[in-house]
Amino acid sequence: MDRRQFLAACGIGAGGTLLPGFAGRAIAAQQLVETIDLAVKKRLADAGLSAASGAGASYCDVRVGRYLRQFVITREANVQNIVNTESTGVGVRVIADGAWGFSATNAMTPEAVAEAARLATAIARANARNQTQPVQLAPTPGVGEVSWRTPIQRNAMEVPIQEKVDLLLAVNNAAMQAGANFVNSQLFLVNEQKYFASTDGSYIDQDVHRIWAPFSVTAIDQTTGKFRSRDGLSAPMGLGYEYLDGRAEEKMVSPNGVVSYRNSYDMVEDAIAAAHQAREKLTAKSVEPGQYDLVLDPNHLGLTIHESIGHPLELDRVLGYEANYAGTSFATLDKREERFQYGSEIVNVFADKTEAGSLGAVGYDDEGVATKSWPLIQNGRLVDYQATRDQAHILGKTESDGCSYADSWSTVQFQRMPNVSLRPGTTPMTAADMIANVENGIYILGRGSFSIDQQRYNAQFGGTLFFEIKDGRITQPLEDVAYQIRTPEFWNACSAICDETDYRLFGSFFDGKGQPSQVSAVSHGSPTTRFDGINVINTARSLG
């Protein structure tokens, strides 16, 4: 599901404001700060665990979930919609006769959870009849009663609605004052209160927070009918409302003065810049197609990493479980055996579920595995994938990578992408140093259109801002730029990576996978990075 479908599913942007069931039931804002008593959650979980064991399950996990979301949607001087939703219930997953079974209920009683556990066991038994191989679960030690919380400073759910409305209307006003014709801005706030218990002896209580503050500014030339938009340069983050404090020390200024943001975002400042840059786009030079050296800002490169490394190394895709929907992967298991040269020798990519501020950071995944960080690509060579407990044995591993996630208590957990990030270069290098060495290149910031084939070979990416680089200097803005890549050639063309002082997180808030489709949120860190001799096309067309 992409963002448009997600908004449509929420009834946002439609004429009617009635809210369909997708995002849970609508609640009053003050209920967003409530939690379920820990003892109640444990009682529900124990009811499920003992009922499953009693019904003959060899393994059971119970997830008691309360999923909260708040969306604030504005355009120009208007608040279009404010939505608070809550979805609460219990999902029970079991192994019986060597097969998985799953059932879920929104009735928060021990009896209902026990009944769900028995139903899940019956479904597992039915599935076992057609199963060719029993589930093999990598061992995971029980951790007893533990808890984990996203290290936030200010719970966004506790911030008054008025403060959020005031911020977005200030953003819109600043953009309009700076010359925008239109501006849309939103806040998406998520809190997952997740309790996990399993027959391994774990009772894990987690409180996960995420925030995203996108906007889009449009400038129009009425005479020519041309219009251009410039989206915000923020990243969705695993942070609290403090992300919107706009702290000066977290600003990153590019060699030509474009301001990007690390762990703190100044939305008003970015909206003013967006209004100017959207106007500038109307008269920017249309790119000459050809081969260029690309200098890619982290706020752009994150999506390229997501599509061309994150997805192809999902083990379920590699094995064929996503063949009918998201697709398979070119990075087949034999490529790990032969240490396939995925990228140039300076390319080191790691998977991670722990990095502070990232969307993927949790203490434990949705099958109770303590999270970690591990290499995927070392010195350019493919070394590993992303696995869950029932996949670890396929890779010869004795433990899961902790990649299990479900987007609701009512959906079954499966393998989802962890944070996948590019390690900074070890030689000191700023973006300015990098650009100074480029003869004929394009500097790209921000996300644009993105498309990649079902095995993750051929991709095309646009961006938000494009600048021509000539003889080591940024000369002028460009438009109509998109680059086309073949994944291994692209990463093998990586010739320079800035150092850790330039490292920033980008992210995807609504990454879709599975049938029925589930969304997840994931971050991608990188510094500014250079790729040589990349094929750039011109995307301008005439409708006559």
Partner: protein
């Protein structure tokens, strides 16, 4: 309780509306039973049934709106829901674009229900999976697919006297078949209101044939080609474009339907004269609810007539502001065509490329609706009316506006499967000149 009768629904809705002390109140009940089965690597991976019934209550004090949703229907719960919506409305900022609830309406029912689809059992779903997997196993092919079936109802009432109730069913089946060595891939999809017209044993043969025939694909140079787009291939581009038939966007100057100097392209010739798009809730095979999200009756309307922009979609607010008639937002899209099948179109093609399906379509430039995406699961070179050999998949960069000015021929519209949308879409297969492929993909 998931599928309520009209009188059960009416009783609850009338209670809710009567409980409200706000200036106006709109209550909506929705209920569904959704069943699914998923399979991959010739094994069932997941299957399940989700039932859900929900009541949404939206109230307004002046231009301040509050909404709440519950899934229990005792008198006390209904009262709580109404009071909570009222509390939210009092706290909400004014919406300057607020439009009052519609008055009493007459909705002409549409044939959206099938008893057979509503009665699907877990055993039937398992049989669909078996009918897909067994022939693949027998021929050393690998199937991955998904069947989703649903029965649902929607009912609403408001304090201005409008009321509607209708039930609907639907099913969507998709299956991707791959050769064991991963060099061939084929696809088939079926989307129906009535599952009794679904024959998975016949459909799977299409995907199997394409999988086997697409192995060892040859590389052609990217460039402009005559293509035959099967309905599933054309649908992704066309439905993407029709999202931008919004009058407000066009009037604001940020759509391909905006005119230089201001205004929109209503009445202008934008496509080949053979292009006709209609929205029609009663269209046989594409039936949809006879009212929209605001409770406005839907009508049969041409969006594009003989290549001219016949209508744009106005929200109630924008119609009111622009002095336009208020019409329900569409719930389906039908592109009219002829009577030929895809096979007929292939037979009449001297040289071209058959595209089974398109994938990962994204907007590159909204100014021209330039879209990029890829072919997938069965791409073949045609010569003298016959499929000669499989070709490697292509990336395209093409605008459906340009594509629909390069029409050679249109076939018989079919209901499109796997489009991930609540919109029902019927699209014909089509032969298009000068379709722009910009690079090759190694993906199978």
């Amino acid at each position: 309780m998931s599928i309520m009768t009209e009188s059960e629904a009416r009783t609850i809705l009338e209670k809710v509306v009567a409980l409200s002390t706000a200036d106006e109140c709109v209550a909506q009940l929705t209920g569904s039973v959704d069943g699914n089965i998923r399979f991959a690597l010739n094994n069932v991976s997941t299957s399940g049934v989700v039932t859900n019934t929900e009541l949404s209550v939206q109230v307004a004090f002046g231009r301040r709106v509050g909404t709440t949703t519950i899934n229990e229907f005792s008198d006390a719960a209904l009262e709580r829901a109404v009071r909570r919506a009222e509390d939210l409305a009092r706290l909400a900022p004014e919406n300057p674009e607020f439009m009052p609830a519609v008055g009493p309406q007459t909705y002409r029912p549409t044939a959206t229900w099938s008893d057979a689809t509503a009665a699907v059992t877990p055993e039937q779903r398992a049989e669909v999976a078996r009918a897909s997997i067994a022939p693949c196993r027998a021929e050393n092919l690998i199937a991955a697919g998904f069947l989703d079936d649903s029965a649902s109802f929607v009912a609403f009432a408001n304090s201005n006297g409008a009321f509607g109730y209708q039930r609907a069913t639907g099913m969507d089946y998709t299956c991707t078949v791959r050769t064991e060595d991963g060099t061939g891939s084929g696809w088939v999809g079926r989307n129906l209101k009535d599952i009794s017209g679904f024959d998975p044993a016949a459909d799977i043969q299409v995907a199997m044939r394409k999988a086997a025939a697409s192995a060892e694909a040859r590389a052609l140079e990217p460039g402009k080609y005559t293509v035959i787009l099967e309905p599933a291939a054309a649908s992704g581009l066309i439905t993407f474009m029709t999202r931008y038939f919004d009058a407000r966007q066009a009037d604001e100057g940020r759509s391909f339907l905006s005119k230089a100097g201001g205004g929109n392209k209503l009445g202008e010739q934008v496509f080949d004269p053979r292009v006709n798009f209609i929205n029609d809730p009663w269209h046989e095979g594409a039936e949809t609810l006879p009212w929209d999200g605001d409770g406005l009756p839907r009508e049969r309307r041409a969006l594009v007539e003989d290549g001219r922009i016949a209508n744009l979609n106005y929200s109630r607010y924008w119609a009111d502001r622009q002095g336009q008639p208020v019409v329900g937002q569409p719930g389906n899209l039908i592109m009219l065509g002829g009577t030929k099948s895809t096979t007929d179109l292939v037979r009449e093609t001297e040289r071209g490329i058959l595209v089974t399906r398109t994938w990962y379509i994204r907007m590159v430039d909204p100014q021209t609706v330039l879209l990029t995406g890829l072919t997938r699961d069965g791409t073949f070179y045609i010569e003298n009316g016959e499929l000669r050999y499989p070709v490697k998949n292509f990336r395209f960069n093409e605008s459906p506006v340009i594509m629909l000015n390069n029409i050679d021929d249109l076939g018989r519209p079919v209901r499109v499967a796997g489009n991930n949308s609540s919109f029902t879409v019927m699209i014909p297969p089509m032969r298009i000149r000068d379709f722009t492929f910009t690079s090759l993909s190694d993906a199978v």
